[in-house]
């Protein structure tokens, strides 16, 4: 090294400065990419914190839809869906499924009648190994139009400030339709009498390469008996799980999967807006639930029903929710899988035994 003469020393200093600048710029860019310099960025971690609320999460459980029960069975595809998608799961045939009936609550011990939204996680596996996962709920539309609004809703609903919810609703008028549904739609006493909707829009691609924007629903074959919330409450806090266990033990339960095709004028980006009733529908298959298992030792607990796990022939649309959900569900999965020690296996097993 020749740092003896003053100009050479100056050059060396300059070189060290240049190296520092390069390294510093690299670290700064990395920090920016990681979101450390932009605390406003809506990250999966912030989304989950908003869902948790001030009480914090139920460790070991899903960060939303925490109460649920596993099922297995088959999906009997009619083959009709092949007209709009090349996905092998919709080719005529019978494919194994694993799924989960659940309640839209962050608390696994919530009494059934306190939870307005019911959900279903479902995975269908085609013989060639392609997997289709989905997570659907029973309202006919989503409460809010954007993931950011979903975050705002969690913050407002946990807020102790007076007027937080009214202010939220004023900013998100689409929420009124949901509130009205929640207040007026009848309840039912069984998961088997509940229909489940994708709400989000996806794109099916047929064998010729044409795209078909779609939504889908699982419509129950069981006769639906409307109940009031009070009637459901009177049946006990865990009625839905007990009922579906007994019901499926007596006979398999089924749902028809109906795919709705968008008209070119229908928007696909906003799940808070239902499409008109008269859109073309296709019955692509039947879900047959054959066996119920408790979540704690069932096959569904350790699956992430990420709605972006799609087979070839299906993809996301311009609806921003599936991506946001995928990011949030992955983090929820990472956390709960790391918290299995907190998952109350022992406690639940003990209470079950003493029943």
């Amino acid at each position: 090294m020749s740092s003896g003469t003053p100009p050479a020393r100056a050059r060396t200093l300059g070189s060290f400065a240049a190296i520092l600048v390069v390294a510093g710029a690299g670290v700064g860019a990395f920090a920016y990419a990681a979101g450390w310099l932009t605390p406003d960025r809506l990250t999966p971690a912030r989304m989950l914190a908003a869902l948790d609320g001030p009480k914090g999460p139920a460790l070991g459980h899903r960060r939303n839809h925490a109460k649920g029960i596993c099922f297995t069975g088959i999906f009997a595809a009619s083959g009709e869906g092949r007209e709009i998608t090349r996905a092998s799961v919709l080719a005529s045939g019978q494919y194994p499924v694993v799924g989960r009936f659940n309640l839209g609550t962050t608390e696994p011990d919530s009494p059934d009648a306190t939870v307005r939204v019911r959900g279903m996680g479902l995975q269908i596996t085609a013989p060639d190994g392609a997997v289709w996962r989905m997570a659907m709920i029973d309202p006919p539309f989503f409460p809010v139009a954007t993931p950011r609004a979903f975050y705002d809703l969690q913050v407002a609903s946990h807020s102790t400030e007076r007027g937080a919810m009214p202010a939220f609703i004023a900013q998100h008028p689409e929420f009124r339709a949901f509130a009205e549904w929640a207040g007026s739609a009848p309840w039912t006493g069984s998961y088997a009498e509940t229909g489940f909707n994708s709400l989000d829009s996806f794109v099916f691609t047929d064998t010729q390469g044409y795209d078909h924007p779609v939504r889908w629903s699982l419509l129950p074959d069981a006769t639906v008996t409307a109940l009031t919330q009070a009637q459901l409450a009177a049946m006990g806090p865990d009625h839905l799980e007990q009922e579906i266990r007994a019901r499926v033990a007596a006979a398999p339960q089924s749902w028809r999967m109906v795919v709705t095709l968008a008209d070119p004028i229908d928007q696909t980006a906003d799940p808070s807006k239902a499409w008109p009733e008269d859109r073309r529908r296709m019955e692509v298959g039947t879900l047959i639930v054959q066996r119920i298992e408790a979540e704690r030792d069932g096959p569904c607990r350790d699956i992430n029903f990420d709605p972006t796990v799609l087979p070839d022939g299906m993809s996301v649309s311009d609806d921003p929710f599936p991506a946001a959900r995928s990011a949030a569900y992955a983090r929820s999965y990472n956390l709960r899988a790391a918290e299995v020690r907190d998952y109350p296996y022992q406690r639940a097993a003990a209470t079950e035994a003493s029943r």
Binding site: F16, V27, R41
Partner: protein, 182 residues
């Protein structure tokens, strides 16, 4: 200096340098967003990560076959030590990070799909404990990898700008032949 890395070694080095930096930025970017770009980012992350795994194997073969140019005798012992050890760290991470990513997704029972339709088989059964271990390893090793890259760049620039001992040129020369930039 008498020779540099072979043209193939240099090409792989720079292609992988870009890919690995890309992977590190995509990685920390994707886990901190819920925007629609999350999906293409993670899809790219999986595919590019497996490409890096394949290239790392090829590169290891080339390194084994052709070796590396000798270091200048003028280099002090601690620097020589660092220069001898760092390739081990790089190869361990270039092979380890993709394998951990693949194993982590296997342990979570996710399908591992590249380019939208190529499905890789799981390399582990579903397991919460393994998933957790691999997830933490993927995250911490990623940060270690980034730190290593930053130090590596700083060291390379130190050779190029301060020491001017030809070490930088053994990897940076664009000449096709193996003879040295002196």
């Amino acid at each position: 200096m008498t020779r540099s890395f072979t043209a193939w070694q240099r090409l792989l080095h720079w292609a992988m340098a870009i890919a690995i930096l890309g992977m590190l930025f995509i990685g920390v970017g994707m886990v901190s967003t819920i925007a629609p770009s999350y999906l293409p980012l993670i899809a790219t992350h999986r595919t590019l990560g497996i490409v890096i795994l394949v290239l790392a194997v090829v590169r290891l073969g080339l390194r084994w076959r052709y070796g590396a140019p000798p270091l200048p005798v003028s280099m002090p012992i601690p620097m020589r030590l660092a220069a001898h050890l760092s390739p081990y760290a790089f190869y361990a991470l270039m092979l380890g990070m993709p394998l951990i990513g693949w194993a982590m997704m296997s342990a979570a029972a996710y399908p591992i799909v590249l380019l939208g339709h190529i499905r890789l088989p799981p390399i582990l059964p579903q397991s919460d404990a393994l998933h957790t271990l691999l997830w933490k390893a993927h995250v911490y090793l990623a940060f270690a990898f980034f730190a290593l890259v930053v130090m590596h760049v700083a060291a390379a620039l130190y050779h190029a700008l301060v020491r001017r001992d030809g070490v930088f040129e053994t990897m940076a020369s664009v000449r096709a032949d193996r003879a040295a930039a002196e």
